[in-house]
Amino acid sequence: MSRIDLPQGTLDLLILKTLTLEPLHGWAISERIQQISKEVLQVQQGSLYPALHRLERRGWIKARWGASENNRRAKYYELTRAGRKQLETEQDSWRRLTTAVAQILETT
């Protein structure tokens, strides 16, 4: 299966979603998205890090330094309360968007 470029704005949604379970560092986030999407979605570092810093600025995730799996210093991101709320609304609007798009595609 070929890879798909992420539509504008969906990356934020995916990052927030991957962080619901546990705090992760940047590399792990991109790996997780890749794994779960069965290699369909690939996150470029060039868009990942600006997105992370933007989300941090908005207060939806916060960063702290911790030790990684192989005991190296890594920057972990975790979801804040505001981030959780944001995720819910974004998920919701995403679902409505996809159903609406699907409906149009089916009827024509």
């Binding site: 570092q45 890090y49 810093h53 210093r73 890594a74 920057k75």
Partner: protein
């Protein structure tokens, strides 16, 4: 929002740390990626190569991250600022001209604002000043809405109103302060019960008056004015509880009023001076009795009840006054009541002048902004290439506009700071130049209000002059600019048009300012040319007040002044000497109803009115007031009551038109009605009319009585000297103290000085407005010079071709001059229309000149056009010297 700001600030201020963290984070990512490839079996070198490929350009990522963190805005601004500073330093002549122009405009604006703020806007130093009002009687017949109040009416107002919480009356008088130091005449304000409650002020030292102080025998207390306490008593705190001698009687000081409390109501003062102390006024039983005759002399202050509006208070007072008219037609016919807020009362007569000055200074600022805007437009044209290249390599319009706006703000900020310094210096110079007591301010200091105003003015004007050039510059098309080497458009297209519009606007504003100041100058010339009706040269004036305790009887007063005049007459250098109770130009006077026998008898309040002056021997000779008919007082008339009076020409014109006044007999109601009725005075002479209240006020009917007719305990001595009048002060003081060493010589002044003081406000407003108009003229000249010179520089090529094709110098000169003339005339046209409208608002500042005076308008149009043409002529001449060869080769 706040967290966002903090985040941005951290990104900015801990830049190094944030950068390091970002590097570490990206580095970590890279290594994990390599490890992943190595784990899948690739050799390390290949794994690194792959990782690098998937990750992409590291610098681009970092830049994007920085942008995402919001460092951009602050950093870009700093970049812009640095760049701006460089650009301004690279063009020092432009920068200096722009900054000086702005500093001048903003300095003048801030200076005037500080005065306007202190006088019109700042809260007054009274408790809840919005509730404090002054209540006057309104003399409907003499259209004098701020007339002092009769005690009987005050008493009735107090009883009948329901809008005021409290009401008090005051009347000021001069008393002699003796003991510790030279005797001195001071102004004391006698206030009725509750006065300090009405104004809502408590003494800063001492306990103040108690209710008991308004009982007979307990009123020997005073509260001192702060300034007077400092000046006369060195601010001695131990003075409280001690007695000072006033008119020979000890009075205990019970308080000092706050520094800025100085309730001085010009319309109601009887001494014409600020009070130096307050004293409780125990009003006699007969105070509110109408049968005692009805002198009007009180100033009434009142505090409105909570929730009562000024209009309500005015309504009720009008109703009460109307009722009193019906009940007491003999005393109150044609008398209404006026309620004035304290702010209006205290600044009312300055308001038109201040508002005019503030508008004028705003115009100056606008002209300054237009100038700088024009300069920036011209400079933007020179920077077209630079801007085009910036756009070509990817700068957005907003980015370009922002850069230019930042430069404008920078200019504005430097100009604003310089302007503030200029304003501080200027305000204090303004106050020093302003006539004493005119503004009631001694100095203005920098405070948060002034700083905020200055900052706001800076920001606003920076936007005002910056927005147009930066909009134009950021919207010029790249391709055309880079291509355009031919200078095809003669005046630079849209940009040229804009600059022309700016110059036209400047011309218009300058014309308005010139017209305004021209009108004031003409008014002043008129005013200064008014013959006051007497000769002010070499005339010394001073006041002597005889304390009642020592000179209670009329005969004692008459004898004292007779001896004083006799002694002064012998002083070398004295030409003649006389005296008068209310001399001209002191802002004071007594006026009363008169009845000319033979004319129908009407109630006093409806009959003719005349001023009454009591004078000494040689009065008309000393003042050099001409006797137009009849004779002056004889020695006998000056020494005993002979029932004679001299009236002025205005009296004859108004009350005895077409009749021979000599021999007519008049009842002058100055004493008890019955005494007056039984003792009419015979008119023995007619003298010239004097402008009692100053050259700006018309000469009113006046009757002159010799001293014995109505002795006064306070007289102003008038000494006509053969040389400098003030040199006579000490010999005269010596003579005065020979008679009574406890009597001060008060309000010493030369009549020339009083005359000059009476013109001081007109002179001051004229001077300041004239200064602004001059600044406006210079700025406008610079503005039109700039536009034309720039146009010529741009058209060098075209002019060269014209000359190569045979155009004469005259043609070229005409071409450029024509352009300047066109702009000037359009601007002048707009200016005339605006000025005709705006000068109407100056009506109350003008004297003897109409607001649309054609001579003034003609003169200022001539001046403006002449200056503009002169400014155009310089670049026009320059254009004629263009050599065709050089111009064509110039590309």
């Amino acid at each position: 929002m706040l967290s966002d700001l903090l985040f941005r600030l951290r990104s900015f201020f801990q830049r190094n740390r944030v950068e390091e963290e970002m590097n570490e984070e990206l580095c970590f990512h890279f290594e994990r990626q390599v490890e992943k490839y190595v784990a899948s079996g690739l050799p390390r070198a290949e794994a690194e190569r792959r990782a690098r490929l998937t990750i992409g350009g590291e610098d681009k990522i970092k830049e994007d991250v920085r942008e995402a963190r919001g460092v951009g805005f602050v950093e870009t601004s700093i970049q812009d600022l640095r760049y701006g500073v460089r650009m301004l330093r690279k063009n020092p002549s432009f920068t200096i001209v722009a900054i000086l122009t702005l500093a001048l405009g903003m300095g003048a604006t801030t200076a005037i604002f500080s005065v306007v703020d202190a006088l019109l806007l700042r809260p007054l130093p009274y408790n809840d000043p919005a509730k404090l009002v002054v209540v006057w009687e309104n003399s409907i017949r003499h259209s004098h809405p701020h007339n002092v109040v009769a005690p009987a009416n005050f008493t009735d107002w107090q009883r009948q109103n329901s809008v005021f919480e409290s009401m008090a009356a005051m009347a000021d008088t001069r008393v002699n302060l003796t003991g510790n130091g030279d005797p001195e005449q001071v102004v004391v304000q006698n206030v009725t019960a509750g006065f300090f409650h009405v104004v809502g002020v408590n003494p800063i030292v001492g306990s103040g008056f108690t209710e008991d102080n308004w009982k007979q025998g307990k009123d020997d207390v005073v509260i001192l004015d702060y300034g007077f306490w400092k000046e006369r008593f060195g601010g001695d705190p131990y003075l409280i509880g001690k007695a000072i001698d006033i008119n020979g009687k000890p009075q205990v000081v019970v308080g000092v009023a706050p520094k800025d409390f100085n309730l001085y109501v010009k319309d109601g003062t009887l001494t014409g001076a600020k009070p130096q102390m307050w004293s409780p006024w125990v009003v006699p039983q007969s105070f509110g009795d109408r049968k005692q005759g009805l002198g009007r002399y009180l100033t009434v202050v009142a505090r409105m009840k909570p929730g009562v509006k000024l209009a309500q208070a005015q309504d009720q007072m009008r109703t009460i006054a109307w009722r009193l008219q019906q009940q007491h037609p003999d005393t109150n016919a044609h008398w209404g009541a006026t309620v004035v807020s304290i702010r209006e009362q205290l600044s009312g007569d300055l308001r038109p002048a201040l508002i005019t000055l503030f508008c004028a200074v705003a115009f100056v600022l606008l002209i300054a902004c237009a100038n700088v805007s024009g300069l920036l437009l011209a400079r933007a044209a020179k920077r077209e290439k630079e801007i085009a290249i910036r756009s070509a390599i990817g700068a957005s319009r907003w980015r370009v506009a922002r850069q230019l706006l930042t430069e404008s703000l920078l200019l504005g900020a430097v100009g604003g700071i310089l302007g503030l310094l200029l304003a501080l210096w200027g305000t204090n110079a303004l106050l020093a130049a302003s006539p004493k007591g005119l503004l009631g301010l001694n100095s203005v200091s920098v405070d948060i209000r002034l700083l905020s105003f200055s900052a706001a003015a800076t920001l606003l004007s920076s936007l005002l002059f910056g927005i147009l050039p930066s909009y134009v510059a950021s919207h010029s098309t790249i391709a055309e600019t880079l291509k355009d080497e031919t200078r095809s458009s003669p005046v630079g297209g849209r940009r040229g048009l804009l600059r022309h519009a700016l110059v036209v606007g400047q011309m218009g504003l300058a014309l308005v300012l010139l017209a305004g100041s021209g009108l004031l100058i003409r008014s002043f010339v008129r005013l200064a040319g008014v013959n006051p009706g007497f000769e002010s040269r070499n005339l010394l004036t001073f006041q002597v007040t005889l304390p009642r305790s020592k000179y209670g009887k009329d005969e004692l007063q008459v004898a004292f002044f007779k001896e004083l005049l006799a002694r002064i007459r012998r002083v070398p250098g004295v030409r003649s000497v006389s005296m008068e109770n209310y001399p001209p130009l002191t802002g004071l006077g007594a006026a009363t109803g008169v009845h000319i026998l033979g004319q129908p008898q009407v109630p006093i309040s409806e009959g003719p009115v005349s001023g009454v002056r009591v004078v000494g021997p040689d009065y008309f000779a000393t003042m050099r007031i001409p006797i137009l008919a009849g004779r002056t007082f004889s020695d006998a008339e000056l020494n005993e009551v002979r029932r004679v009076v001299i009236v002025n020409q205005a009296f004859v014109d108004k009350h005895l038109p077409g009749e021979n006044p000599l021999g007519k007999r008049v009842v002058i109601h100055m004493r008890d009605d019955k005494v007056d009725e039984a003792n009419p005075s015979e008119i023995i002479g007619v003298c010239g009319s004097v402008h009692q209240m100053g050259p700006g006020e018309e000469a009113k009917p006046n009757a002159y009585w010799p001293m014995p007719e109505l002795p006064y305990s306070r007289m102003t001595i008038l000494v006509s000297s053969s040389n400098a009048p003030l040199s006579l002060v000490s010999p005269i003081r010596y003579e005065l103290h020979q008679i009574d060493s406890e009597l001060p010589m008060a309000s010493v002044a030369s009549m020339d000085q009083l005359l000059s003081d009476s013109l001081s406000r007109s002179r001051f407003v004229m001077f300041v407005l004239g200064l602004f108009a001059a600044i406006a003229l210079v700025l406008t000249a610079v503005g039109i010079y700039g536009v034309i010179a720039y146009g010529v520089a741009q058209r060098t090529h075209e002019i060269g071709i014209r000359m190569a094709l045979g155009a004469q110098r005259g043609n070229v000169l005409g071409l450029v001059l024509g352009q300047g003339t066109r702009l000037t005339l359009i601007g002048v046209g707009i200016g005339i229309v605006a000025a005709l409208g705006l000068t109407q608002l100056m009506g109350s500042l003008l004297y003897g000149v109409s607001a649309t005076d054609p001579i003034t308008f003609g003169a200022v149009i001539f001046i403006l056009v002449a200056v503009a043409l002169l400014a155009t002529f310089v670049p026009a001449r320059h254009a004629t010297q263009v050599s065709p060869i050089v111009a064509l080769r110039y590309e």
